[in-house]
């Protein structure tokens, strides 16, 4: 029983990371109808930003984290402005290839930083290696921080999309760009902001993940596991992304313990294939039919 709880906890923590990355996919997908394969790399860049702020400049953790989030948000806006906007309206696949290109460039650039890029670093978070004991249950503070931060972030995003003018404008643009544009919503600027938001969320995910997997140039590959999360949740649904992430994380955690070797890494993909065969719209996806 305790074993199961422990597995559940680590699964949820891992799932929150997948969920946060998937949240980035879904935000971008809803707003601009493009799929970003660079989300994992944005996460990696965010983690490196925080690392640079802490160990090179010597900032305290919270300041470095805040700076990393702001820097990544600005980077996301810039990215949208420079490379995504010119090909808006082109077939979806061009943009997928473009984001794959961005991912390549990000990985390549990071490894070019002498002495830092090719190494593996530990992010010195204040709660490193601390443990809480709830009865017999051992809770890693790193995992608790992931779960807590994800919950807070979800609350903030929910409030933003529900109550703020900006969030409602984003919802409108994601439902119908043209109609939103006619209503006077600056769709192009919103798209930029959505990329900024997605990059900021990715940066948070990166900093939460950093204590567990360390900071290195290839940590972005975890983004590929967030795709199953986004699909399981239904690609166009924000709560779905988090729930999908949790499902994938928990399945992976249990598969790693109970099933033979090799199932841990493939479990998310098996889940997503089954999901696509059984319920292609995901858990929270809307069922839509094309009208001709």
């Amino acid at each position: 029983m305790l074993q199961i709880l422990q597995l559940l906890l680590s699964g949820i923590a891992q799932g929150c990371i997948y969920g946060l990355i998937a949240l980035g996919f879904v935000l971008i997908y809803k707003a601009t109808e493009t799929v970003s394969f660079a989300q994992g790399e944005l996460m990696m860049l965010g983690a490196f930003c925080a690392f640079a702020g802490m160990s090179l400049v010597g900032l305290p953790f919270w300041l470095a984290a805040l700076l990393a989030i702001v820097a990544m948000a600005a980077f996301g806006v810039l990215l949208e402005l420079v490379v995504i906007r010119p090909i808006l309206g082109q077939p979806q696949f061009s943009i997928v290839m473009l984001t794959i290109g961005i991912a390549y460039v990000a990985r390549g650039l990071i490894t070019m930083i002498p002495g830092i890029g090719t190494e593996t670093h530990a992010l010195a978070v204040p709660y490193k290696d601390e443990i809480w004991k709830l009865g017999a249950l051992v809770v890693n503070v790193e995992q608790a921080a992931i779960i807590g931060a994800t919950a807070v972030l979800c609350g903030l995003l929910y409030a933003m999309f529900r109550y703020s003018k900006l969030g409602i404008a984003m919802q409108a643009a994601s439902q119908n760009q043209l109609a939103a544009y006619y209503m006077g919503i600056p769709v192009k600027r919103l798209n930029g902001l959505v990329w900024g938001l997605a990059a900021a969320v990715a940066a948070i995910a990166g900093m939460l993940l950093a204590p567990i997997t360390f900071v290195h140039a290839n940590m972005g590959f975890i983004g590929l596991k967030a795709f199953p999360a986004a699909v399981v949740g239904g690609f166009g649904s924000l709560p779905g992304a988090i729930v999908g992430g949790l499902v994938i994380g928990i399945v992976e955690s249990f598969a790693g313990f109970y099933l033979p070797d090799g199932f841990k890494d493939t479990a998310p993909y098996i889940v997503v294939l089954v999901m696509l065969m059984v319920k292609p719209n995901g858990l929270f996806g809307e069922k839509l039919r094309k009208k001709v």
Partner: protein, 358 residues
């Protein structure tokens, strides 16, 4: 400028449109056949790789460029072909039979992948193939009894009718033959009703369906043919390298293959081979450029990724039709000189077109 006055349907679907085609492709063929005597061994090996990747590229081009179905797990088919060939060749099965078996097994795997693909489209299809690619890679790594696991598998040299064809010249000729045959197969397929159906599906599934095209059947067929060609390429790849391991067929390989068809030019048979030339030539160019760059940049392990990424971004932004599109523009410029207009190949934007069904 050449104007062709077509007077019959046979002329419309002819493989060689005019005498120029016959001459130039004939010349290309002659040079390729003479290559073993003209090129040093190293470059011949590179040319062999170009042909092998070209065969795989043809398959992916059929699927992505002509049927509009994107596969982000094509390395799985490549790997299936490679491992089938390796296992059969090591068991002493003759080369042509092993090759046929590799293509057939890959095609069968392609049909299996097509099953979820029939229900999903666009990005979901990409993710389904991505997931499939990961699972297959894991199978290669874990099924140690057959594949040798992560330690890899040595492949015996190929034998054709008792002759050893492992020397680089003879293997080059075999690859050339298979590449030419696959190219003709694809060209013929594309001018047949089946090929036209593929293109119709790419352009609009709904209008294709309303013209009486059985979507499921043709998508499955496209996946099967594409996977068979990838398997064929994989089989040759296994022999050429004579050693295969699961990490040669990972997600990066799949993305490289996609990069190849996108940079070559989606929707053109030439593009498959131009992309293959790019994919093989690029590491060489980067290696040459390394000496000119400051050591910090030149020796960084990510240099190749950076260059690939930049080239890919450049092509998507400025030349979406790829290398072949660039060639078309240059040719048109020369033919029309001095009347080429800037907007001749202008892309149309479609902001209201939505992939989401609404």
């Amino acid at each position: 400028m050449r104007f062709i006055f077509k007077t019959s349907y046979a002329q419309d679907i002819a493989l060689a449109r005019h005498g120029g085609h016959v001459f130039w492709y004939g010349l290309l063929g002659a040079v390729l056949i003479a290559a073993p005597w003209l090129l040093p061994e190293y470059w011949l090996a590179q040319l062999t790789f170009v042909l092998i990747y070209g065969i795989v590229g043809l398959g992916l081009m059929l699927l992505a460029g002509f049927t509009g179905q994107f596969s982000i797990g094509h390395a799985a088919f490549l790997g299936t072909g490679a491992y089938t060939q390796a296992v059969l060749a090591n068991a002493g099965v003759p080369f042509p039979i092993a090759l046929a078996a590799a293509a057939a097994l890959s095609a069968a795997v392609g049909v299996v992948v097509a099953l979820p693909a029939l229900r999903v489209k666009g990005i979901y299809l990409g993710i389904a193939t991505l997931a499939f690619g990961f699972i297959v890679e894991e199978v290669f790594a874990r099924w140690e009894r057959v594949t040798g696991g992560n330690s890899g598998l040595h492949v015996k040299s190929p034998k054709l009718f008792g002759l050893d064809i492992s020397s680089s010249e003879s293997f080059y000729i075999v690859c050339l033959l298979i590449a030419v045959l696959s190219t003709f197969a694809i060209l013929n397929l594309l001018r047949s009703p089946t090929g036209r159906a593929f293109v119709a599906i790419r352009d609009s599934e709904i209008s294709a369906q309303s013209m009486g095209i059985h979507l499921a059947r043709y998508k499955t067929l496209s996946f099967a043919i594409s996977a068979a060609l990838a398997g064929l390429g994989g089989a040759l790849y296994a022999h050429k390298l004579s050693f295969i391991s699961p990490d040669q067929f990972n997600i990066l390989q799949s993305i490289d293959l996609l990069l190849m068809v996108v940079i070559g030019g989606l929707g053109s048979v030439h593009g498959a081979f131009l992309g293959a030339i790019f994919l093989i030539a690029m590491p060489q160019l980067i290696a040459l450029g390394k000496d000119w760059l400051p050591p910090v940049i030149g020796q960084a392990p990510g240099l190749q990724g950076l260059v690939y990424g930049l080239v890919l971004i450049g092509f998507v932004l400025f030349e979406p039709l790829g290398l072949y599109g660039r060639w078309l523009k240059v040719r048109t410029y020369l033919q029309l000189f001095p009347f080429y207009r800037k907007g001749l190949f202008k892309r149309q934007k479609a902001f209201t077109k939505s992939d989401r069904l609404r």
